[in-house]
Symmetry: C2
């Protein structure tokens, strides 16, 4: 690929190269050059900006049902209720595997059209053994970063302790072979989510089953999620909307990434996380869409970047890095999120001269994933 | 066109029709029916939602140059300076007619891809007679709603009174035959814009030349713009970010539409207008993109709708109405902005079951203008 007006490599930092060319073999970058590279097949970037494909490290793509009316009611003043998830769970359980696969594929394709070249996909709308397993299977058709999220909420009608035992026992046994990660919604402020002891039990069971750890934490209030994630060495703790000084200190001294999901704050009309405080403390920050039907039904990483710049004070460069290299760290991967010899040739082409336009032109679909023949 | 899962007609109010069909002849709606309409050529909406095409009643599409660095600096804390327009004026004056036409066409096409089927286009980056005339000519290739905005700012190096006389004299004489509207940036809070007396002189000269009136007003501070617009019977006063009770009362008793431009508040990190106060007073509210390189470089009406719902408390239905029927009123047109027998068949097809998804799925390019063969 040549005639790249501006190449963002994330190597090191943002790594901007003007008038660049890339040599790609078998989906891997084998050379980063100045314009004029030779190859069997030439892709002309037309002077556009090329960046590492977005890495969406937090999505809930496998679901059925529609919750747009709940969204409209919330915007009209109804409070956010995590219990609204039941609508999705009922529809997802009722949907056939073919339907769920088609819905997931359509959402994955939409993400590609927005420049996302790799995504993590969580289960979590089954909340019974058979459905959670089915969701992990479907997710696995689209990514090798499948996350088992049986501990999304406690479904109605089951005592909490019984449900935690189910998640840590038969559900985990059914799903672990299909997943790379386990995740838990640790949020004592919600009656539907899990407290610190429950979350610890889930995460330790997952770790014993060979899974890496992720945590939904500190979304609705300060709580134990962040510190638990750090203590157990989770790859990422996601949301981080309400943090204490101790939470920030814990993150700063750890390898746990703070993944911010400002699409949630947008669509729930909530205050945004304090990203500058995290960056000032040296915490690694990622951005992700949290694409899900309840609180953030967007697949647009450019929209998330625009929010991060407008609402959380990230520079456009910090936001692009967080949505690519930062998110790759949140998935503990070094093959994506940057452009260098040996990295996957996962690229997003921007219909713009620089990455600044992602935040400068909000709502405009400027990014698309490059599809290699 | 049939198999329309949900048709939004704006006739009356939002006018929702389930399982609808439209019969279109020569670009005009000749029947609104239940599914099953017959015709020579069939377009299958695939169960999607169809709405009146968005009407973008406030754009500055004809310009050259890039101000993304200025945007990034502003996000990093530099104050908004209307003087930044000089970068655009210099680049626009230097560009050839072919270049400007190509840039404008690309932006118009981008707008079509976002579901905008009609747009107003202002001049205002020439600020001399020859360039303002050229900008009006280019705008006229893309719309019959051309607005002469020689009174955008006072260019540097010219005494204010001399520039106002130029606008009201030779510049107006050169541009009036090419335009339907005259507009003025009435904002005494900015040293670059025009005070009440200057704005009145411009508007009265425009009216004498046969042009309809529009005003940029009350963007940066409360001021005389809104009341001047109402007094002179302007079709619309745009921005309305800072309003007094007297401003709201004046609008409520008038035929002047309040056009809100929340993309500006997003991209300048400013407080949003109080849309609910306007609606409560009975004011007709329109939404537009204000697509321009300095303060709101978006062509996405869905993004503007999402902001209007999230930040200004419009319901999704109110926001969709404001971006279609409201904007048509701001242009004093009854042939667009709604779907009824006799109206232009300007339609936006949503890749979604209902119009709620426009706000529910922020950043996702769900709307596209239907192009008739």
């Amino acid at each position: 690929m040549d005639n790249i007006g501006l190449l963002v490599t994330n190597d090191p930092e943002l790594g901007e190269v003007r008038d660049a060319a890339l040599v790609i073999e078998d989906g891997v970058v084998v050379a980063v050059e100045r314009a004029g590279a030779q190859g069997d097949e030439r892709i002309d970037a037309g002077g556009r900006c090329v960046i590492p494909g977005f890495v969406d490290s937090h999505t809930h793509l496998v679901f059925a049902g529609d919750r747009s009316e709940e969204f409209a009611a919330r915007m009209a003043g109804a409070p956010y209720a995590a219990g609204g998830i039941r609508v999705t769970t009922d529809a997802t359980r009722a949907a056939s595997e073919d339907e769920l696969t088609a819905l997931t594929r359509a959402r994955r394709d939409e993400a590609l059209r927005a420049g996302i070249t790799h995504l993590e996909i969580k289960s979590g709308y089954g909340l019974d053994v058979a459905t959670e397993r089915r969701l992990c299977e479907i997710a696995g058709e689209f990514t090798d970063d499948v996350t088992f999220l049986g501990a999304h909420v406690v479904p109605p009608g089951i005592p909490r302790a019984e449900y935690v035992a189910l998640v840590c026992g038969p559900m985990l046994a059914a799903c672990a072979p299909l997943a790379r990660w386990i995740d838990v919604f640790c949020e004592p402020a919600s009656p539907h989510a899990f407290d610190a002891d429950e979350a610890r039990a889930v995460l330790e069971a997952g770790r014993a089953a060979g899974l890496g750890l992720r945590v939904h934490g500190n979304q609705l209030a300060a709580g134990p999620g962040v510190r638990l994630a750090v203590e157990l060495g989770a790859a990422s703790v996601d949301h981080c909307t309400y943090l204490t000084g101790a939470d920030v200190d814990a993150l700063a001294g750890s390898d746990t990434v703070a993944t911010l999901l400002p699409g949630v704050e947008f669509s729930t009309r909530s205050p945004y996380p304090d990203a500058r405080r995290l960056l000032a403390a040296g915490v690694t920050v990622a951005l992700a869409t949290d694409c899900n039907p309840g609180t953030s039904y967007t697949s647009s990483m450019p929209f998330v970047i625009a929010l991060a710049v407008r609402e959380m004070g990230l520079t456009p460069a910090e936001a692009v890095w967080a949505a690519t290299a930062g998110a790759a760290r949140a998935l503990r991967r070094d093959d994506i999120g940057h452009i260098a010899v040996g990295a996957r040739a996962d690229l997003a082409v921007l219909d713009a001269p620089t990455h600044l336009h992602l935040a400068y032109r909000p709502g405009v679909p400027l990014a698309r994933a490059l599809e290699l023949a």
